[in-house]
C-alpha cells in the first residue's frame, strides 16, 4: 500500500520563545519517523537563535530567541523543509539490551502474566522477542519510550503509580515499553525486569545518553549471575550494552 502524502504540519505558538510543529495527534511509527527526520533537517541548518529542538511522538518543540530568530522566519524555515526525506538523513543505532526479568528485579511480571492468562515465561518471550523503536526520550534523563510492544501484552497503567521505582527498570504501560535511567523515578508502569545498562551516565563524557529517538532496541533475557557481573562491570565504567550495527 502506498503511503498517503503527509498533511503539512500545524505550527502552534508556545509563548514568544517556543514553536510547536505538530505532525499529527496519534502515536505511530510513520509520524514519528517524519518528526525525527524534520528535527534532523532543522538541526543540520544550525539556525541562529534556535536554542534547542525537542522531538516527541508526533511533534517538535523548537525553543528559540525571537530577538535573534524572528518567528515568521523560523516558520518559513520549517515549512521549506516539508516534507522531510522519508528515509531520514541519519542512520540510527540498533541496540541489544540485556535484562534480568522477574523476581525482585521485575516485581510486576507475574501480575502482568495473570492479567493476560499467560505464564511469566511467555510474557518474557513476547517482550524479548519484539523489536522496539525509541519514539522519544522524555520525562526523566535518558528515559526511553518504546513502540513495538506485542499486542498480547498491552497492559493499562497501574491505578496506583509508585513514587519510586528501581533504577534501570524495564517496564510496560499501555501499548509501550520503556527503559528507565539509573535513577529511582516515579512511575505507574508495570515493572518486568532490570538491566545493567545505564541509559544515562554522566561519566560517559562523549555520550552521556545512550539512546536517542529513532534508535532500535531489542532485549535479551539474562540470568542472575550474568546480571550481577554486568552490573559490576557497568559500575566500573565498562559499557555493557551491545550495539548491533557498525557505528
Amino acid at each position: 500500500m502506498q503511503d498517503e502524502p503527509p498533511d503539512p504540519p500545524r505550527l502552534l505558538d508556545a509563548g514568544d520563545g517556543g514553536l510547536v510543529v505538530e505532525l499529527g495527534s496519534t502515536i505511530g511509527e510513520a509520524i514519528n519517523r517524519r518528526v525525527i527526520a524534520l528535527g534532523e533537517a532543522l538541526d543540520a541548518q544550525a539556525l541562529p537563535g534556535v536554542r534547542e529542538i525537542v522531538p516527541t511522538y508526533r511533534s517538535l518543540l523548537i525553543l528559540f530567541d525571537p530577538l535573534e530568530m524572528p518567528r515568521a522566519r523560523l516558520r518559513q524555515h520549517v515549512l521549506a523543509l516539508w516534507p522531510p526525506p522519508a528515509a531520514g538523513g541519519r542512520r540510527h543505532a540498533r541496540w541489544r539490551v540485556p535484562v534480568l526479568y522477574g523476581g525482585e528485579h521485575g516485581v510486576d511480571l507475574e501480575d502482568v502474566a495473570r492479567q493476560h492468562a499467560l505464564t511469566p515465561e511467555a510474557v518474557v518471550a513476547l517482550h524479548a522477542g519484539a523489536e522496539y523503536r525509541v519514539y522519544m526520550i522524555g520525562f526523566a534523563p535518558g528515559f526511553a519510550y518504546l513502540g513495538g510492544l506485542p499486542a498480547a501484552i498491552h497492559t493499562s497503567r497501574r491505578t496506583d503509580p509508585r513514587a519510586r521505582t528501581p533504577p534501570r527498570s524495564i517496564s510496560i504501560g499501555g501499548q509501550q515499553s520503556a527503559v528507565s535511567p539509573p535513577l529511582e523515578i516515579p512511575s505507574g508502569w508495570h515493572l518486568l525486569g532490570q538491566t545493567p545498562v545505564r541509559s544515562y551516565d554522566p561519566r560517559r563524557a562523549d555520550r552521556p545518553f545512550l539512546f536517542e529517538a529513532g534508535d532500535t532496541i531489542r532485549f535479551s533475557p539474562i540470568a542472575a549471575d550474568a546480571y550481577r557481573e554486568l552490573c559490576a562491570a557497568a559500575e566500573a565504567g565498562v559499557e555493557v550494552v551491545v550495539r548491533e550495527d557498525a557505528p
Binding site: A14, G15, D16, E22, T26, L61, I137, F139, G142, F209
Partner: protein, 340 residues
Amino acid sequence: MSGHLVFERPGLFSSLQDFGRFGYQRFGISASGAMDTVAMRAANALIGNAPETAVVEITLVGPAFTVAAERCRIALAGADFPLSVNGRPAEGWRAHALAAGDRVEIGGARAGMRACLAVAGGFAVAPTLGSLSTHSRSGIGGFQGRALQSGDRLPLAGAPPGPLLALAAEHQPRHDGPIRVVLGPQDDFFTAAGIASFLSADYRMTDRTDRMGAQLDGPPIEHAKGFNIVSDGIMNGSIQVPGNGRPLILLADRQTTGGYPKIATVIAADLPRLAQRRPGEAIRFERVTVDEAEAAARAHRAAIAAMLQDLRDAAGTAMDLTAERLLALNVVGGVCSAFD
C-alpha cells in the same frame, strides 16, 4: 586568591544556577537555570562578574555561611531578604567586601521568593554538560548535583580586586502586576468558559511551588474534549491543566514532556517576575498576542540594560562609566580584540 564559602546552614533550598543547560531536553533534562535571571544579572554586575557567572539561588529562607578565603566580594539581588555581616545589618542590591572569617547570615524573605547570591569570580566547580546549573531531581550539575547542605564548602574561583557597586531602590525591578500569557498551544482543549475563568479569576500560588512548577488553586478550568494529549515537549512557562481543572505552571526544572493540554504559555519577559510570587499570593493572568509578547521581550532586554546603567559606586558617588569600568563590569562585549 581562592578559598571557600563554608555553609553553616543551607537555607530552605539553595542551589548553584547559571543561565541553564541547553540542548539536552531531547534527552530528558530540562535546562534549569536561575528562575529570576534579572536578579542573577544584577547580582553579578554589582561585583563586576560576567553576566553568565553561576550564582547561589536562595529560596524563602537564606543560608548562613563563613568566608574561608583571604577576601571576597559578594552581592545579593532579587527578593527582599534580611542580610547581615558579622551581625551587622547589610543591604541587598549592593556589593560587600568580606574578609576571612566574616560570617554572613541571610534570613527569611520579607517579600518575594528568591534571590541570587553572587561572589566575585564565581565558583570553582566543574560544569556538567556545559553548565553549572543544578537539576536536583536528576542529580545533575551544581555542587554534587544537589541543593546545598549544612557543612558544604563551596570552592571559590577567586577574582582580582574589582568594583563594589549598588543599585538604588527606585531602579530595582518591581515584582507585582499580572503575569502575561500567550494562549496555546492547546487552548482548543478548553471551553470558552474555561478560558474566560483562566483569564479573569484570581488564582493563588499553593505550597506546591518549587523550581519544577507552581501548582495554582482557584476556579477549575473547564476542558472541552478531555484532558489527555499525546505527550509532547514542555517549556519554561507552559501552563498545563490536568483533570482537576487546576492550572500548573511548569518552570526551569520541569519534566521535559507531558500529556496534559497546555492552555497558555507565560511570556519570557514575565518569568523572572513570576519566580518571585510566593505560596499564598494571588496571581492573575493577562492575555497578550505573540507579537505583543515579542515586543515585551525587546522592552525587557532594554530595561535590563537601563538597570545596569543605573549601577552606582557602593560608596554613593556616581559611577564613572569609563571604558575600563565598563570592561570590568563585562556589560560591553568586543572590547578585547587587542588580545586576539
